[in-house]
C-alpha cells in the first residue's frame, strides 16, 4: 500500500519559493541579463511564480519562456505511447543568463534534453538549473544550482508537486511505493 | 465399363418433371432404367445415394480454360477436373484463348485435349470473328463441324451491330446460338468496378449499368430482326433482367445466363480494393443482385453459369486498376447456388437442377440435362445439406482467385459420372 508523506505544505512551499527567487538573483548577479525558462508542465508554473517574486522584489520585468522537451527526449523511440507535445515559446537567449526551472530533478534526462533544445535556439552566456525538489537518483552528471529542498528516494517512490494553477492546491508529497 | 447402380437417391429430372426417391441404372454409357428397387447386375458398381440428390450432370455454358496460351493458370484437363469436382459433367469453353479458337484445328485441339483428360465433357465455343477482332466472320461451318456448339467473342463485346446481325443470321444456318458479352466499350472504358457510391468512395472509375443494358437492348432488337438465337452472357443488372423479360414475353429467341457472384455479392465486396472482387461485368448494387435472383426464379434468366476465369496469383496481387478481371467458379457454383438460391427460398431443388442442367442442355442443344432412358449417363450425386468451408488450396483448378475463401456453404457434389464412369468421387 503506497504511503503519502507531505514534504512541503502550501505555506512551506511559498517560503521556499521566496528563498529560491532571492538565490536566483544572487547567483545571476542581478536581473539585467536574466531569463527564466520553465520546463513543461509544472516547471512553467513555478517559473511564472518565481518571475513574479523576482519582479516584485527587484522592480524588474524578467523575460520568461516555456520549453517543451518532448521532441528531445532520449526515450522517444522506446516510450511506446506518443507523448503530447506542449508549447515552446522562448525569448532571445543569446548572451543571457538562462535559469532553467523544473519541479523535480531526478535522473537528469529531462534537463539534458532541455539543454540540447536551448542550444538550438541560441547561445546563452550561462545556464543555471533551478529545481524545487532534488530527489537524487541521477543517471547523468547533472546538478542543480538552486534547490528548494532535497529528499532521498528509491526507484519505486514518486515525488508529486501540486500547484494550485493545475491541481487546485499547493503541496509537495512523497509517495513511497 | 461396369454398369453403375445409383441406389436410393432423390431423383430430380426436370426434363420429365420427375422428383422421386428411386434407383437409377447406368449401362454402356447410357441411362438404362429408373425405378424402385432395381435389380443389381452382377458386375455393377453400387453407389449409395441415400440422402443425396441424383440429377443429370450439371452443365456450365461459360468457362475459360486458358488452353492454349496460358497453361500455367489452367488447362483443359485441370479445368475438366475442377468441373467434375463441382458437379459438372460438361462445360463450354470460351474461345478467347491464345491463339483464339477461331478455326477448325483449334476447335479440334480442345476436343482432343478434353478426350484425353477423360473428366467432364468440354464443348468448345468458337469465335464469332477471326482473332475476335470484331471484323471478319469466322467460318462457323468449319467450327461446328469440328465440334463447336456456339460462337462468341466473349471477353469482348461485338461492337459492330452489323457484325452481330450477320453473325445471328449466319448462325441460323447451323442452328447454333450467338453468345454476346454485353458491354458498350466507350461507356465502360477504363472502368474497374460498378459505377456507384462505392466506386466514388474508392476513387475508381466505374462502369455504369447502362453499359450492359445498351448492348442487351441492341442484341434483343437484332434477335428480333434476324430471327436468330442470341444468348446473353453473365447478366448483372436489373435493367437487363427487365429487358429480357419483355423480350421473352414477345416470344423472341433470347436466352440469358447469370453467375453465382452476381446473385451472391455486391459492389461492397470491392471494399479494401479486393482484386478478387474485380470482374467484368462488375458486381453491382443490392437491387441488381435481387433482380438476378428473381430472374432465376421466374426463368427470365435461363441458366446459372460460372464464367470461370482463372488468373495467376501475381496478376491479382496488384493495384486494383491493374489487376485482370475474373474469378474462378467451377468448384463453388453449386454450393453458392444451394446456399443462396435454395437456402434463400428463391428456388426449390428441382428448379435449381433445371437451371444448372436441363436448360443449359436445351439452350445449346447438348446431350444431357435428362435422365430419360437412353440419355447419356451424365449424372451428379449432390449432398444438399453438407456444410463445408471454401478452401481454395484444395481446389482442382490450377488457380485460386476466388473471393469466397473461408466462406461457409451448404451443398456440394459427392460424385460426378460422365459417360457412365465416375470421374469424381468426394473422399472424406
Amino acid at each position: 500500500m503506497p504511503s503519502r508523506t507531505p514534504l512541503l505544505d502550501d505555506r512551506a512551499l511559498g517560503r521556499t519559493l521566496v528563498r529560491m527567487a532571492t538565490e536566483i538573483v544572487e547567483r545571476a548577479g542581478g536581473t539585467d541579463a536574466l531569463v527564466l525558462v520553465g520546463i513543461q508542465r509544472r516547471g512553467v508554473e513555478l517559473a511564472d511564480r518565481l518571475k513574479r517574486l523576482i519582479d516584485q522584489a527587484e522592480g524588474s520585468n524578467v523575460p520568461s519562456g516555456k520549453l517543451d522537451i518532448t521532441l528531445y527526449r532520449d526515450d522517444l523511440q522506446t516510450v511506446g505511447a506518443r507523448p503530447v507535445v506542449g508549447e515552446t515559446r522562448l525569448p532571445n537567449l543569446d548572451g543571457r543568463t538562462v535559469v532553467i526551472v523544473d519541479d523535480v530533478l531526478y535522473t537528469g534526462r529531462t534537463v539534458r534534453a532541455a539543454l540540447d533544445e536551448c542550444a538550438d535556439f541560441g547561445r546563452p552566456r550561462r545556464i543555471l538549473l533551478c529545481v524545487l525538489i532534488d530527489r537524487g537518483g541521477r543517471e547523468l552528471p547533472i546538478q542543480a544550482d538552486i534547490v528548494g529542498t532535497t529528499v532521498s528516494t528509491g526507484p519505486d517512490d514518486r515525488v508529486d508537486v501540486l500547484v494550485s494553477e493545475l491541481d487546485g492546491r499547493d503541496a509537495v508529497e512523497l509517495v513511497r511505493g | 465399363m461396369r454398369p453403375i447402380l445409383v441406389r436410393g437417391g432423390r431423383i430430380l429430372d426436370p426434363s420429365r418433371g420427375i422428383d422421386q426417391t428411386a434407383d437409377l441404372l447406368l449401362q454402356d454409357g447410357k441411362v438404362e432404367a429408373l425405378g424402385q428397387s432395381l435389380g443389381r447386375p452382377d458386375d455393377a458398381e453400387v453407389l449409395d445415394a441415400a440422402g443425396r440428390i441424383v440429377a443429370p450432370g450439371l452443365i456450365d455454358l461459360h468457362v475459360h480454360l486458358r488452353e492454349p496460351g496460358q497453361e500455367d493458370i489452367e488447362t483443359v484437363a485441370t479445368g475438366a477436373m475442377a468441373a467434375a469436382a463441382g458437379g459438372f459433367s460438361a462445360v463450354c469453353a470460351m474461345p478467347n484463348t491464345d491463339p483464339v479458337t477461331d478455326n477448325q484445328a483449334a476447335v479440334g485441339f480442345i476436343v482432343s485435349q478434353a478426350q484425353r483428360a477423360g473428366k467432364a465433357r468440354v464443348y468448345p465455343i468458337g469465335a464469332i470473328s477471326l482473332g475476335q477482332k470484331g471484323q471478319q466472320l469466322a467460318e462457323f461451318g468449319e467450327l461446328v463441324g469440328a465440334g463447336a456448339v456456339a460462337v462468341s467473342d466473349d471477353g469482348k463485346p461485338v461492337v459492330s451491330s452489323h457484325l452481330m446481325r450477320t453473325a445471328l443470321e449466319y448462325a441460323r444456318t447451323f442452328g447454333i446460338p450467338v453468345a454476346d458479352h454485353c458491354e458498350d466499350p466507350t461507356l465502360a472504358a477504363g472502368g474497374a468496378m460498378h459505377e456507384g457510391l462505392v466506386s466514388t468512395r474508392l476513387g475508381l472509375k466505374g462502369v455504369p449499368a447502362a453499359a450492359e443494358e445498351i448492348m442487351v437492348a441492341r442484341d434483343i432488337l437484332l434477335a428480333e430482326l434476324t430471327g436468330g438465337h442470341v444468348h446473353l452472357c453473365h447478366m448483372s443488372t436489373r435493367g437487363s433482367v427487365e429487358l429480357i423479360r419483355r423480350a421473352k414475353e414477345k416470344g423472341l429467341r433470347v436466352t440469358a445466363e447469370a453467375c453465382p457472384h452476381h446473385f451472391t455479392l455486391t459492389h461492397e465486396a470491392c471494399e479494401g480494393y479486393n482484386t478478387n472482387a474485380k470482374m467484368n461485368p462488375p458486381l453491382r448494387e443490392p437491387e441488381d443482385r435481387e433482380a438476378i435472383r428473381q430472374g432465376l426464379r421466374d426463368g427470365t434468366i435461363d441458366v446459372v453459369c460460372t464464367d470461370h476465369a482463372p488468373h495467376h496469383y501475381d496478376a491479382k496481387e496488384r493495384e486494383f486498376d491493374d489487376a485482370p478481371n475474373g474469378i474462378i467458379g467451377l468448384e463453388t457454383a453449386l454450393g453458392l447456388a444451394i446456399t443462396e438460391l435454395v437456402g434463400g427460398g428463391l428456388l426449390d431443388l428441382p428448379t435449381l437442377v433445371l437451371r444448372m442442367s436441363t436448360m443449359p442442355a436445351r439452350i445449346f442443344g447438348l446431350p444431357g440435362g435428362s435422365l430419360a432412358k437412353g440419355a447419356a449417363a451424365d449424372v451428379v450425386l449432390i449432398d444438399p445439406t453438407a456444410e463445408w468451408t471454401v478452401s481454395p488450396d484444395g481446389f482442382f483448378s490450377k488457380s485460386r482467385n476466388t473471393p469466397f475463401a473461408g466462406r461457409r456453404l451448404r451443398g456440394r457434389a459427392d460424385a460426378t459420372i460422365v459417360r457412365g464412369q465416375v470421374v469424381f468421387r468426394r473422399s472424406e
Partner: protein
C-alpha cells in the same frame, strides 16, 4: 486513450474518427513553431529512415514531406519513377519489399492507382503514408486545408466549405469531404456535372450547380486545379469555357455576401480555375496552406512513428 492510436499507416481520412483528425491537427501546432526557429530541427525522428516513393511527379508535395522529415532529423531517400527500377517494370510489391529489406522505417508514397497506399501498407512492415493515390485520397492535403481553415475561423463545425472543380477525379476533394464532414462542417461541391460523381450527395455534400451559388453560400472556397487531360478526355469542351463559367474571378467574388477565404492545393492554373488577382489577393490563404503542410506532415510522421498518445509528464518525473 488507445482508441486514438492511428495504427501503422495513414491511408486516408475516411477511416479516421473526428478525434483522431483533431489529434493530428493539435499535434501540428507545436510543429508550426519548430519551422519558425533559427535551427529548424528537432531530434524526434533521429535515426529513422524514410523513403519518399513517388510514382507520380510532384515537386511540391515531395519537398514538403522532405522538409518535414529532415526537420524531425530523419534520414530521407527519394525514389522517383524516372530512372528507378519501377520504370523498368518492377512491381509495386517488389519495389517496396526491396526497400523494406534495407530496413526502411517509413514510406511516403504517391501513386497513380487508387488503393496503392493501402496495398503497400498491407504488405510491408514499415509505416506507410499516402501522399496521394490515384483518385482516392490525399490525407495530408486534406489535413492541411482543414488546419488552415481552423487557423482563420477558430473552428470547423458549422463552417460552409465549397470545393470547386473536378471533384470526380480529385483525391484532394475526397479527403476534404471526409475530414470536413467528420468535424461537423457543411461541404458543398461545385463543378460541371460531367465532373461530379453521380452519387456524390450520398457522401453528405450539397451540390452547388454554379460558381455563383458557391460564392453566395460558402465561408471558404477550396479551388481545385483543372487538368488539361479532362478536356482531352471529353469531359469539358475547353479550358476557356471552364474559366468563363466556373472560374473564381474577382468580379464574381465582389458579389460575395461575406469575405470568402480562398484555398487552392496547387499548383494553380492561373486564368483557368482561378484568376491571378484572386490567388494573390488578400483573401487567399494559399501560402499559409503550404506552411501548414510542413507542420501537418511533421505531425503525421511523429504520430505514426510511435504508438498512442499519453500525457508527457506524470507528477514528479
Amino acid at each position: 486513450m488507445s482508441t486514438l492510436a492511428l495504427g501503422k499507416d495513414l491511408v486516408g481520412l475516411e477511416p479516421l474518427s473526428a478525434d483522431q483528425i483533431r489529434l493530428i491537427l493539435d499535434t501540428a501546432e507545436p510543429f508550426k513553431e519548430v519551422s519558425e526557429r533559427p535551427i529548424k530541427k528537432v531530434p524526434a525522428l533521429r535515426g529513422k529512415t524514410i523513403v519518399n516513393l513517388f510514382f507520380e511527379a510532384s515537386t511540391r508535395t515531395r519537398i514538403s514531406f522532405e522538409f518535414a522529415e529532415k526537420r524531425l532529423s530523419a534520414d530521407t531517400v527519394n525514389v522517383a519513377t524516372a530512372g528507378s527500377s519501377v520504370s523498368k517494370g518492377e512491381t509495386l510489391v517488389d519495389t517496396a519489399r526491396n526497400l523494406e529489406a534495407m530496413r526502411i522505417d517509413m514510406v511516403v508514397i504517391r501513386h497513380g492507382a487508387s488503393g496503392a497506399a493501402q496495398f503497400l501498407g498491407q504488405r510491408i512492415r514499415s509505416n506507410v503514408i499516402n501522399a496521394g493515390d490515384g483518385k482516392h485520397e490525399h490525407p495530408t492535403q486534406g489535413l492541411l486545408d482543414i488546419l488552415t481553415l481552423r487557423d482563420r475561423f477558430k473552428r470547423i463545425e458549422g463552417l460552409k466549405i465549397a470545393i470547386c472543380g473536378d471533384i470526380l477525379h480529385s483525391r484532394v476533394a475526397r479527403s476534404n469531404i471526409w475530414g470536413l464532414t467528420k468535424l461537423g462542417a457543411q461541404v458543398g461541391v461545385c463543378g460541371p456535372a460531367t465532373l461530379l460523381p453521380r452519387n456524390v450527395q450520398e457522401l453528405g455534400v450539397t451540390i452547388l450547380p454554379r460558381i455563383e451559388d458557391a460564392i453566395q453560400w460558402a465561408d471558404a472556397l477550396n479551388v481545385l486545379r483543372l487538368q488539361l487531360e479532362r478536356m482531352e478526355a471529353g469531359f469539358l469542351p475547353s479550358l476557356r469555357e471552364y474559366n468563363r463559367v466556373f472560374g473564381v474571378t474577382s468580379e464574381r467574388l465582389a458579389k460575395a455576401p461575406k469575405d470568402l477565404l480562398i484555398l487552392h492545393p496547387g499548383p494553380m492554373n492561373r486564368g483557368v480555375e482561378i484568376d491571378s488577382d484572386v490567388a494573390d489577393g488578400p483573401h487567399s490563404v494559399i501560402l499559409p496552406q503550404v506552411t501548414n503542410g510542413v507542420a501537418v506532415r511533421m505531425a503525421v510522421l511523429y504520430l505514426l512513428a510511435g504508438g498512442s498518445p499519453d500525457w508527457a509528464h506524470q507528477p514528479g518525473d
